[in-house]
Subunit: 243 residues, 2 copies
Amino acid sequence: MRYRAIVEYDGTNYSGFQRQLTKPTVQGEIEKALLEISRLAVSVTGAGRTDSGVHATGQIIAFDLNWRHGSSSLLKALNANLPVDIVIRDISAASEDFHPRFDALSRTYTYYIYNQTVRSPIWRLRSWHVTRPLDVELMNGAAELIIGEHDFATFGQAPQGTNTIRNIKNARWQKEGLQITFRIEANAFLDRMVRSLVGSMKAVGEGSWTVVDFYNAFLAKDRGKAAMTAPAAGLFLTSVSYE
Amino acid sequence: MRYRAIVEYDGTNYSGFQRQLTKPTVQGEIEKALLEISRLAVSVTGAGRTDSGVHATGQIIAFDLNWRHGSSSLLKALNANLPVDIVIRDISAASEDFHPRFDALSRTYTYYIYNQTVRSPIWRLRSWHVTRPLDVELMNGAAELIIGEHDFATFGQAPQGTNTIRNIKNARWQKEGLQITFRIEANAFLDRMVRSLVGSMKAVGEGSWTVVDFYNAFLAKDRGKAAMTAPAAGLFLTSVSYE
């Protein structure tokens, strides 16, 4: 039987989602918990391969398992065997051919910037500390330019043999107290794409780039033209949508 | 010259604010940073002695120091010598007799409950995970009873030779997404008082106590009548007010 689950994790202590031989990963920990409760090697697939240090509140995974006790007892058994920084929020039976990555219609990420001269101990593992005051209106000027179907070669790399065209459905910056939050939804993302977009829009917000500089970098379709990539700690995979 | 400063800290890795001989504390770390930049032993006083694991975004401290380079350079020098989980948010010259504890008119604390069946990796060090659904209206029924000047012997201990009467100016629960937040302002608090109030109001919110049970425990002025004390991780000292 195939199961589909929503996963939340604090990515601080993991080398990303995807299983690695020698380093702790989120996939690795979930597979360990599945082995623990079933005594069988179970392979997990995820909707997004989040990088080292990136968090998630709505990662979607799938796996096949024979389990006779209902999905609510499966949820409890898994959570009892997962470390404190990973949890299964919800679990349900899925169709036999459900694939969290290929079936996804869109992914939504949220990025947090803590915009203050002084760093924040409370937010240090959940945000990017930017000291120069950011102009959110200018950043939204840049965000509007990327909405729709475009070539994002400037902002990330595609897997070999595939293209760098992606379709952005929403992209918007918002000021919430000392935090400046970026929410972006797309059909799919290139490797490092959200963090690269955030880094270049931050350059616009602090005035080191104009919106036109951003647009020219975007049009250049050249990875070398992007500004710095924003750090992992501010990034959250918040949801994945399916039909 | 006496300085007054606002301090933010993640209390997770500290044995509270107050200096201890063998354990890491917030006061101890600030005094170490002051020693580092001045080469002199400087004693720090704080407005509130937060417990082990309790956080702060608005702790107020004072200390005496000879510093010739202005308070903004003092802020930078101190922050450069403080660990990542402690920061001075602001610093200014104070009158020679300023005392952060004795001069305080009121303190405000905020407590976060994460109210969901499943625990949260993201919020685990910043909230109390309560699985049973809480009724915020009932909890506010209890909160209203404590406003004003009352004897809080049920909810905390006073330093020897002093009384347990405190004056609550505001106390209110609010639902914010999956978080239920308690904000309380008082002239001063007894030892463990906020966490003890939160624990007893949570009993009301989940239905194991009625509001009348809460009121009777309150009127009993008996420490043994309080429900469980809420854990430290959910508590933040958010501000201290002065004339």
